[in-house]
Amino acid sequence: MTGNLDAYLVLSGLLFSIGTFGFLARRNAIAMLMSVELMVNAVNLAIVAFGTFVPELKGQGTVIALFVMAVAAAEATVGLAIVIAIYRNRRTPLVDEYSSMRD
């Protein structure tokens, strides 16, 4: 099982789906952001798994995973800054109350 790429990929897929569900179902902006983080982690898992099992990738998987984490951090920074900015305006973190623009 641990020696099987498929196991890790399925795990990754499941985590990705859970993250997707969270993103679709949660109303709180930060909860949505957390869901995205779950998705990114799922992808990272897949990348690391590939890095381990696919010979051509050697350590590249690890390297990419590191970069993805950095990007995730940057994304979180920006996202949270935006959340804080809008919270100042709207006094709520619930995204579905942000619907002044539609149609």
């Binding site: 997707t20 993103f23 679709l24 949660r26 579905d96 942000y98 619907s99 002044s100 539609r102 149609d103």
Partner: protein, 655 residues
């Protein structure tokens, strides 16, 4: 122009003078005030002189031989294989027409100087008259079908302008429009006929068409029905212009125009154009005898139809108008039975006496303060002597009382009908002759004899017309009196036959007529007697009913007669309801159709266009509902899109 001979120049002058007269009068006539007639009348007098010279050259000197004078002015429409020139021809037929057109035209012009003296629009009138003369002369002189067609429509235009001369009167404007449009119905057929001719023989020049088309028929190049078709299409044009049934409805209404116009255009010249056309195209009709039967039938039917209506009309000009229709019917009947020369003969005599009658009626109307209702006239013979005498001559002439002009021409028509085997034409023709005599003397009686019904206010002012008007009347009366004698004697061999026989003999021989000789002591004599007797009977009956030189009319008997034939009387009085039928068909139903189509245009066609536009808008509006403003909805959309695309790819890949 091919050569510059004097005669060709004169032919051109025939056209150029009235045209110049029209242009100058139109441009400067207004400033000339009461003298606006000078240019126009001068032009027509000059035209008359020139025409007479040309007539002399053609008919008496035979300067151009039997074929006549033909020349080309310039190339008009060079459209590849379709080449039409402006070319003119002058032969015996044209010359005879010239006599009528220029003579009556000149006299009407002169008459109009007096008649229109007090009308502020006289400059327009003379301009239009000149324009008409130009058109009519072009019609007579044109040497190909298309040019003839141009003239054909231009006389229609002149007629339109002159009928609508008093444009402030709604009835005049309507009548003008009606005349033009009804004429166009005929023109439509004529135009199609011209197209058919060109498509079959590739030329429109009279000479070429008349030789090639029969050849083509003989060689099997076209079928006989095609020939008949062409002839009938041409005849359709004639029906329109000469106001034959069923396109006769415009002519009575055309009496809205000034009376000189009625005399010139709607009696003596333009309406004869149809007769001229059939006569001109006789070589074609010769190949299509079936078409000729149609011509005869339409002609004689129109004759009796119009005569029956004329019996009951009270408007003096309308009686004359129906009379004109009736006489034109005679001419067509004559053409139809293959009696071409009598048809033209009648055209000439009718031109004179009907012109005379109309001008006389104008004089009458003038004298009673523009009143046209005969019920408001009577006993005028003492007050307007010259008019009375001249009109009496005219009436006798049209009634066919020898030895006036009408007798000779009408008699030839009836005689030839009988002899050519068209007994039914002859029979109806005799009845028409009876009716003609009757309604003409009804007119005379109601107008000149019997007690006066003139409005008391007008009564004191009744006066004879000025010299400008009476002199033409006298001249025309002379013509109406002697034209028959001059042209028609000896019977079947008079001048008119000498002139025209060469032109028509070929055709008449093709038709198998014209071979019989005239027998004054035989059948012809009998026929003459019959028709004269019939005319005399009609005259007598009218005299008994409507009075004569002081003999009072018998109103009670008139009423009795009308009561006995109540249905017929009302139908006749209402012109057999043709106007009502037309109104229903074209004004009401046509109007509904047009309104319906417009509705269709706005609501269906444009509605579709606008519908597509609003469909776009509403689908856009529908689609924008997707944009709910909620991020989760968007995300779900994206996820759904992802799933769909994934499934799509998987299907694509695994298929």
């Amino acid at each position: 122009m091919d050569t510059g001979s004097l005669d060709q120049w004169l032919v051109l002058a025939l056209l150029g003078l009235p045209l110049a007269g029209f242009g100058l009068t139109a441009l400067f006539g207004r400033r000339m005030g009461t003298k606006a007639w000078i240019i126009a009348v001068a032009a027509i007098v000059a035209v008359w002189v020139a025409a007479m010279y040309l007539v002399d050259q053609t008919l008496f000197q035979h300067a151009y031989g039997d074929g006549g004078l033909h020349f080309r002015l310039y190339e008009w429409i060079p459209a590849g294989s379709f080449q039409v020139d402006v070319n003119f021809g002058l032969d015996a037929l044209s010359a005879v027409m010239l006599i009528v057109v220029t003579s009556v035209g000149m006299l009407v012009h002169i008459y109009s100087v007096g008649y229109m003296a007090h009308d502020p629009g006289r400059w327009r009138f003379f301009a239009y008259l000149n324009f008409f003369m130009f058109s009519m002369l072009l019609l007579v002189l044109a040497d190909n079908f298309l040019l003839l067609f141009v003239a054909w429509e231009l006389v229609g235009l002149s007629s339109y302008l002159l009928i609508g001369f008093w444009y402030r009167r709604r009835s005049a404007a309507l009548a003008a429009k009606k005349a033009f449009i009804v004429n166009r119905v005929g023109d439509l057929g004529f135009a199609l006929g011209i197209m058919a001719i060109w498509t079959t023989v590739g030329t429109l020049n009279f000479g070429d068409v008349f030789t090639r088309l029969p050849q083509l028929l003989a060689s099997g190049g076209i079928q006989e029905w095609q020939m008949i078709g062409i002839c009938l299409l041409i005849f359709a044009g004639a029906v329109g212009k000469s106001a034959q049934f069923p396109l006769h409805v415009w002519l009575p209404d055309a009496m809205e125009g000034p009376t000189p116009v009625s005399a010139l255009i709607h009696a003596a010249t333009m309406v004869n154009a149809g007769v001229y056309l059939i006569a001109r195209t006789n070589p074609l009709f010769a190949e299509a005898p079936e078409a000729l039967v149609v011509v005869a039938a339409i002609g004689i039917f129109t004759a009796i139809l119009a005569a029956s209506i004329a019996l009951t009309q009270t408007d003096i000009k309308r009686v004359l108008a129906y009379s004109t229709l009736s006489q034109l019917g005679y001419m067509f009947a004559s053409l139809g039975v293959g009696a071409y020369v009598p048809a033209i003969f009648h055209l000439v005599t009718h031109g004179f006496f009907k012109g005379l009658l109309f001008l006389g009626s104008g004089s009458v109307i003038h004298s009673v303060d523009e009143e046209q209702d005969m019920n408001k006239m009577g006993a005028l013979w003492r007050r307007i002597g010259i008019t009375h005498v001249t009109m009496l001559i005219g009436s006798l002439a049209i009634a066919g009382i020898p030895p006036l002009a009408g007798f000779f021409s009408k008699d030839e028509i009836l005689g030839d009908s009988f002899k050519n085997g068209f007994i039914w034409v002859w029979g109806i023709g005799v009845v028409v002759a009876l009716l003609t005599a009757f309604y003409m003397f009804r007119l005379m009686g109601k107008t000149f004899y019997g007690p006066s019904h003139v409005d008391p206010h007008v009564e004191p002012h009744i006066h004879e017309s000025p010299k400008w008007m009476t002199i033409p009347l006298i001249l025309l009366a002379i013509a109406a009196a002697v034209a028959g004698l001059v042209l028609g004697l000896p019977f079947d061999g008079g001048l008119i036959h000498q002139w025209l026989d060469p032109l028509f003999s070929a055709t008449e021989s093709v038709l198998g007529h014209g071979g019989s000789t005239f027998q004054i002591a035989g059948i012809d004599g009998v026929l003459i007697l019959v028709s004269t007797a019939v005319a005399a009977f009609g005259l007598f009956a009218a005299w008994r009913l409507f009075g004569f030189f002081g003999i009072g009319p018998q109103a009670a008997r008139v009423a009795a007669v009308t009561d006995r034939f109540k249905g017929l009387y009302t139908a006749s009085k209402n012109k057999w309801y043709f106007d009502d039928l037309n109104d229903l068909l074209f004004v009401r139903i046509g109007g509904l159709l047009a309104a319906g189509l417009w509705w269709f245009d706005v609501h269906v066609i444009d509605g579709t266009v606008n519908g597509i536009a609003s469909l776009t808008q509403s689908s856009g509006r529908g689609l924008r509902q997707v944009q709910t403003g909620h991020v989760q909805n968007y995300a779900l959309g994206i996820a759904a899109g992802l799933i769909v695309i994934a499934l799509g790819y998987i299907v694509l890949v695994t298929r």
